[in-house]
Amino acid sequence: MLDFVSTRRDVLKVGGALVVTFTLAKKACSAVAQSSAQKKTVASDEVDGFLSINADGQVALYSGKVDLGTGLRTALTQIVAEELDVPIDRVRLIQGDTALTPDQGPTWGSFSIEIGGTRIRQAAATARKALAEIAADRLGVPTTELRIESGRVTGRGRSASYAELVGSGTFSLKIDDNAPTKNPSTYAVVGKPVARLDIPEKATGRFSYMHDFHVAGMLHGRVVRPLAIGARLESVDESSVNGVPGLLKVVREGDFLGVVATTEWGAIQAARKLKATWSNWQGLPERARLWEHVRATKINSDLVTSNVGDSAKVLSDAPKRISATYDFAAQTHGSIGPSCAVVEINDGRLTSWSASQATHRLRRQLAAMMDMPLDDIHCLYIEGSGCYGRNGHEDAAGDAALLSRAVGGRPVRVQWMRADEHGWAPKGPPVLVDLRAGVDGEGRVIAWESEFFVPEGGLGPVPLIAATLAGLSTGPIPEPYRFNFPNLMAFNAAIPYTFPNITTAAHLLAETPFRWSWIRSPGRLQNTFANECFVDELAAFLGADPLDFRLGHLDDPRGAELLLRLAALAKWEKRPTPRTGVKGDVVTGRGISYVKYRLSRTYVGAVAEVEVDRRTGEINVQRFFVVHDCGQIINPDGVTNQIEGNIIQTVSRTLKEEVLFDRSAVTSLHWATYPILTFPEVPDVVIELIDRPNEPPWGAGEPAATIVPSAISNAVFDAIGVRLRSVPFTPAKVMAAIEGH
């Protein structure tokens, strides 16, 4: 089994896990194995928080960051195997277990390697140093003469294995930020395309996803959501489900409604048949006037994210000005497997199994909702269907908690149906952006201004649906995290280019139509779309080649190198955009885009090649060329896999995806009304990775998504001279843009 998932009820006794640990044998004579049951630390400044070595020499790696289907399991295993010099198959990953793994914050923001992995590397380096010192003592050989290979320390013909050295016990060491890490030039495991550890089981049906998890005596629950987002539950006709085989209970708590049955099919049928009356609620804006609504939403405050010179004055005096407005639709996560969780409450203690990307946070939310002490709640992570942000997993756990409580704490599995996921998982918020630029008499850009209409905040816990519907506590949830920049949707509002006068400002809105959360590259995706298209508009306005134009305003050698490598990879021919002299109904174009992620991390550049059918408005994205620099690469195949995924998923979001709704609720409740990209529509993706082994490793989980919409829009402009400023680029919008041109 790849993951250790505790299903044993007796593991938790006194608020922590019973783990058998062994005392690190400082002296040879104290190697008496003295196993003791004690609470494993989850402190993130302790080596024991992250690592333990057992008497067989197996290394357990405890990660608060979890593998969301990204290959993180393999990458973290590589880091530890490398730093400790043990074979990869001797490392076992335990992830997202609030009793065993440190609280490293939610698995988000492409930080799992950059922050999570770096911390784990340092823990391993500290452990390695300690092991060497113990070995020196034990073997009577100075550390300088010791070699470590395959979990064994050797010198002067003597040797001891980690198992012998650790013998028994914990490291009891603070993580030493100065413990030397290995020189990347000696790496044998990191930087190599190590095969993913989970794929053989996934390809053969052996792998246990969250959805496959069960415990003895488990019941099946389904939720019945309100017909309108803010509707009140007026009445429930329980006779409507009389006789549904297996039905145990209809559970009602405030506006929360659900069923529990002994069989899954019984629960599904009961949820379908249950008749309930809901009040009328029409609190959503009119969809046709969404952008007016966003523009008119109350602004809590303005956040200036960059300010150079005096853009207002220069712009008003500028001989030439151009301006444009961009918008990006609300979108949904659309995991292929809808959210799923199991909860049981035993002796006043609640255990939750889910694919939550933030089990420590979920634990605090469940404690608030259930009005239970934090110590009595244990949340475990089990990998689910791919998740690209905070989708419905936590909510499913909240649902399961209420249903379990209603049946005396018996374990209840809640599996969301497709409509629950499409309708009720939190949404990426709709974003509106105004841009303006001024150009002087010599054709130089002298001012850039932008305004982003985005919801405020966004990094805190997303309220659990069950808590909201049942009228239970949704917080405040006290959290140990500090965010330097708490307004998620304002990321990458600032630009990487050196114009003499710049103001980029976010209007932080008091509300947004849907319960919202982060979906792969929140803010950075929408804002980079607007910025990189508008840069292209400026280049076109000035008759400049779009690549040259960017290079001419970039004061960043690493970014410039990336763009030049991109030009070579894509065989970029310098010329202004749009193309001239194109004939025919189906025309091709190419567009470029560039991002420096959060202006401080991973660099990505891309060229999109598209084909546009002028008769139908259909866009066929044929190819993406991508150059990617995320510093040190842990696993090149893993990074390539992530980039391919980011490009394809974001082509889907760019061309097709938009949450549909009426005044009451989301109406795009399945794949026919919320279509995503299918095989015949998938572009080729050609990738060049820039590896910088001596640089810190940066994230690769989402930066490549951000340049996709702008690269496509710029390519469409190149093909047909029409600018697409509203995601998704549906055929109807393309036709409207052609006609309005």
Binding site: G69, P200, P245, Q269, I336, F679
Partner: protein
């Protein structure tokens, strides 16, 4: 009233007790037989993740009532191979590292197995067409196409 249903799953005759013989095959496979290959994705016939082979043909088990599988042979992902002895198509998916979360793989491998049974050397457009109704949210499509090509080459 519980009813006994006789099924032929992965070459094994099994009898299960169900409340409703109109129940989709998917729940019998997952809940009664504890098979994990066929997966719930939509229950609406829109995503392909629940696919199994029924007498060699790919069908969506979320839409196939038990009444329709009597006397037919059901093969699931587990029936094709195991981590120790993967089928050629499974091996090709492993070799091409064709997964991110892998939740969609069941449908992809079942569909590809059916395609290769009838089309020895499919072109890329043929592969794309055969998999057109199988959704992948992670964007693993290119690797999946390469895996199918590899399986065809190795056949």
């Amino acid at each position: 009233m519980p009813t006994s249903v006789l099924l032929d799953i992965n070459g094994r005759a099994v009898t299960i007790e169900v409340d409703d013989p109109g129940m989709p095959l998917l729940y019998a496979l997952r809940d009664h037989l504890e098979l994990k290959g066929p997966r719930f994705g939509c229950g609406l016939g829109q995503c392909g993740t629940c696919a199994v082979l029924l007498n060699g043909e790919p069908v969506l088990s979320c839409e196939t009532p038990l009444t329709k599988v009597a006397n037919k042979k059901v093969v699931t992902l587990e029936g094709l191979g195991s981590p120790e002895h993967p089928s050629p198509v499974q091996q090709a998916f492993i070799d091409e590292q064709a997964a991110q979360c892998g939740y969609c793989l069941n449908g992809m491998i079942i569909q590809a197995t059916a395609l290769l049974a009838t089309t020895k050397n499919p072109t890329v457009p043929q592969i794309k067409k055969a998999l057109a109704d199988n959704l992948c949210r992670c964007g693993t499509h290119l690797r999946i196409i390469r895996a199918v090509q590899r399986a065809a080459r190795n056949a």
